[in-house]
């Protein structure tokens, strides 16, 4: 059909579809970043993520087997599209060697938690001990009133154990933040490096 466009004739093939700026799904992402262990690299990465208005849920950094190279696992809740942008910008940083969002890639993840639980009675001590055994944790410090427990696992396991310990009274807790690595035997298709 012919239509008048801007004061002149032009054939418009179809009614214009208005371009959508895509909004993604908001969820938790796990991003692995391999970096050169230079001064300020952590600040650069944190600044970039904060600049998008996102809060880092957890972050763990440590050296790798390669000298001068560290690896970070970052957990951040955000819109898929914006996180994709963050990943691209992280790749642009001079000191990053490899950046990968492994949220949708089969991966293993572990976190270590230290938790100090109120255990004043022998009954409490018995029950806590049992929970710790079930979750294959360890008691690494004891006082007349408390047990300090160490446990590692994925998010579900740790959440479940903390839920069971809560009624006793958690006095203190420290979490390392997640470390994650993609599984080797699941070869994904069409991944974007």
């Amino acid at each position: 059909m012919a239509d008048t466009v801007g004061g002149a004739d032009i054939t418009v093939a179809k009614a214009p579809k208005f371009r959508q700026t895509k909004k993604g799904h908001v969820r938790k992402h796990v991003i692995n970043v391999k970096v050169r262990n230079e001064i300020g690299v952590l600040a650069r990465i944190a600044t970039l993520i904060a600049g998008k208005g996102y809060n880092i849920e957890s972050l763990s950094v440590g050296e790798t087997h390669e000298p001068g190279i560290s690896r970070m696992t970052i957990e951040v809740v955000g819109d898929d599209i914006v996180i994709d942008q963050v990943v691209k910008q992280l790749r642009k940083l001079i000191d990053t060697l490899k950046v990968r969002d492994i949220t949708d890639v089969p991966h293993v993840e572990r976190e270590l938690v230290l938790v100090k639980v109120h255990t004043p009675t022998s009954r409490a001590r018995d029950e806590v001990l049992r929970i710790v055994e079930i979750f294959r944790g360890k008691i690494i410090d004891v006082s007349p009133e408390t047990y300090t427990i160490e446990v590692t696992g994925d998010e579900d396991k740790i959440d479940a154990m903390l839920e069971l310990l809560k009624p006793f009274g958690i006095k203190e807790m420290a979490r390392t933040g997640k470390v994650a690595m993609k599984r080797e035997l699941f070869l994904e298709e069409g991944n974007t490096e």
């Binding site: 239509d3 466009v5 801007g6 004061g7 002149a8 004739d9 032009i10 054939t11 418009v12 093939a13 179809k14 009614a15 214009p16 579809k17 208005f18 371009r19 959508q20 700026t21 895509k22 970096v35 050169r36 001064i39 300020g40 600040a43 650069r44 600044t47 970039l48 600049g51 994709d84 942008q85 691209k88 910008q89 790749r91 642009k92 940083l93 001079i94 000191d95 990053t96 060697l97």
Partner: protein, 583 residues
């Protein structure tokens, strides 16, 4: 041979073939200035404010394509150059900024003139360094130049503590290979995915209403030849952003000139009605797209850019091609030629070109001239005439910037140097000085506003001192004109704090600083003072054009609105007209 850190700085700069530094000394950088003095082979332009030095380095870089170098002291010297750094970051200008820092053992102690400039500039530099060891000093400086000038260019800051400039070392200047090897995470050279290029070629051949949308990336990659070839080969009209001006000659029949908020009617109509948009080294800035949901609603989009993070950032594209614009365009042309460069719908393409011609005739860039008052657009046209369209134009930011973009026709790349992304008022004069230093063979015309000019006007003294003959045309409407225009159009003429009618006598001001000043208050005087100004080539000239106070920049796409809401007339002596299009 053992020498001071400061000497190593100068030695490395010479290795990088730096011929001029823009800067201002102070306590923490004195050793380097001493080395500069003793060496004597690098020219230094002493700015009167560090912001001036930064914009000069930008102007130099934008005009020449080389890395601009600026140097300041610590603390306030460093913070004063933050704005130019941010400006360079937004407009992808290759810049190396060297700042002095307090001695290493005092860092973090709130020492005199101490700021954490590396921390401050982290989000506005492509990369930055604090030098911690004299042994790494030459490598860091070379890395800074390499990072600044490759890939998507940008500013790099090197912060050097005073004690490092005083220590002695016999460290060698590293080779380029060593520099590259020290940056394993940085791979700036990308040639574009062949499959994607094939896809793009297919889309281009089958398009009925294609438009090329060209940004600063095409200038940085020096891709003007390829652009003209592609446009002519496939008969594609070309629109450019302010950064992309001159990458495609504006007097070419396929030129649509600028698009966006103050783009031409025909460029915006063409983009709005296109069925294929080929973005080349452009980033879909909001001043270009307007309301993004209604930007080129019917078009498929090919996006060629060196920066993967620019792709699908503001708008989802159909065919992303990450790569150097020049290389990708060359490959694309070869691919098209291999396929016979066939236009599959030649009739539609003919009609498209005809339609655009109609639009060009319907609403050309125009204004109502007057015999009584000077119209700002008239001044720009007269500058165009007086300079035979060959001058490098450097505007400040505001209405005059847009008039300079509209009423001067640009024919070669690096001819229109403006602060596009950050929109820094005060950019014009110092950037113009830098441009003239880099291109003494060209006439450099700063087209400034009276508001912009006073922000950095002290640099006239710098231009006088070094006999840098820039011309400065002040489009003087005694307002913060662009803000006033928005207040007129969107705030019911409540002119809140925009009146600049109390201002210095710009002619006397120029004279007080050792420059030449002229004033035009009537249209017939415009040409006269321009001709007088063109005769002067040993010092700067300030031309005060007293213009119609309430002239508006039109056409205009109101902020956050779509192209179809473009305002073509403001009702001053003519019917107000708003465009409604398809949809």
């Amino acid at each position: 041979m053992s020498r001071k850190g400061a000497d190593i700085v100068i030695e490395t700069l010479k290795e990088e073939k730096v011929d001029v530094i823009f800067g201002l000394p102070g306590g923490a950088i004195m050793e380097v200035y001493d080395a500069l003095y003793r060496d004597g082979s690098i020219k230094h332009i002493l700015a009167r404010h560090e912001q001036g030095a930064g914009h000069m380095a930008e102007g130099y870089a934008k005009a020449t394509g080389k890395v601009g170098v600026a140097m300041t002291t610590s603390g306030p010297g460093a913070t004063n150059i933050v704005t130019p750094i941010a400006d360079a970051y937004m407009d992808s200008v290759p810049l190396v900024v060297i700042t002095g820092q307090v001695p290493t053992h005092m860092i973090g102690n709130d020492a005199f003139q101490e700021v954490d400039i590396v921390g401050i500039t982290r989000p506005i530099t492509k990369h930055n360094f604090l030098v911690r060891d004299i042994e790494e000093l030459p490598l860091v400086i070379r890395k800074a130049f390499y990072i600044a000038s490759t890939g998507r260019p940008g500013p790099v800051l090197v912060d050097i503590p005073k004690d490092i400039t005083q220590q002695l070392s016999d460290v060698k200047i590293p080779s380029m290979d060593e520099v590259k090897r020290s940056l394993p995470g940085y791979k700036p050279h990308v040639e574009g995915n062949t499959q994607q290029i094939k896809k793009a070629a297919k889309l281009i051949m089958s398009a009925r209403r294609p438009v090329l949308y060209v940004g600063g990336g095409a200038v940085n990659a020096e891709a003007q030849e390829e652009l003209v070839e592609l446009a002519e080969l496939m008969k594609i009209p070309v629109t450019t952003t302010t950064q992309g001006k001159g990458a495609f000659p504006e007097n070419h029949p396929l030129a649509l000139r600028m698009l966006g908020m103050h783009g031409t009617y025909y460029a915006n109509m063409a983009v709005y009605n296109s069925d294929l948009l080929i973005a080349v080294g452009a980033r879909f800035d909001d001043r270009v797209t307007g309301k993004i949901d209604e930007f080129a609603p019917d078009a498929r989009i090919i996006h060629i850019d060196i920066d993967p993070a620019s792709i699908s950032k503001n708008i989802i594209v159909d065919v992303p091609i990450v790569g150097d614009v020049k290389i990708v365009l060359r490959k694309l042309i070869n691919e098209l030629k291999r396929k016979g460069a066939k236009i599959e719908h030649p009739e539609d393409r003919e009609k498209w070109i005809e339609q655009i011609e109609k639009w060009k005739k319907l609403h050309p860039l125009t204004y109502r001239n007057s015999r009584k008052v000077i119209k700002p657009q008239y001044v720009i046209e007269q500058i165009y005439e007086a300079t035979n369209g060959d001058a490098i134009i450097v505007p400040g930011v505001g209405q005059h910037q847009m008039w300079a973009a509209m009423f001067y026709k640009y024919s070669y790349p690096r001819q229109f140097l403006n602060s596009g992304g950050l929109g820094t008022m005060g950019f014009g004069l110092p950037a113009g000085i830098g441009a003239k230093v880099g291109r003494p063979d060209k006439e450099v015309f700063v087209i400034d506003g009276d508001g912009s000019f006073v922000m950095t006007m002290q640099e006239i003294i710098t231009a006088v001192q070094y006999r840098i003959p820039v011309k400065v045309a002040i489009i003087n409407n005694a307002y913060l004109g662009m803000v006033r225009q928005w207040q007129e159009l969107f705030y019911d003429k409540r002119y809140s704090e925009v009146d600049l009618s109390l201002q210095p006598d710009f002619v006397k001001l120029a004279e007080a600083m050792g420059a030449v000043g002229f004033r035009a208050e009537k249209p017939k005087e415009v040409r006269e003072i321009l001709e007088e100004a063109m005769k002067i080539d040993d010092r700067p000239v300030v031309l005060d054009f007293v213009v119609d106070r309430e002239e508006n920049v039109l056409p205009m796409v109101p902020p956050g609105k779509s192209y179809k809401d473009m305002i073509l007339e403001d009702g001053k002596g003519a019917e107000a007209e708003t465009m409604y299009l398809v949809g």
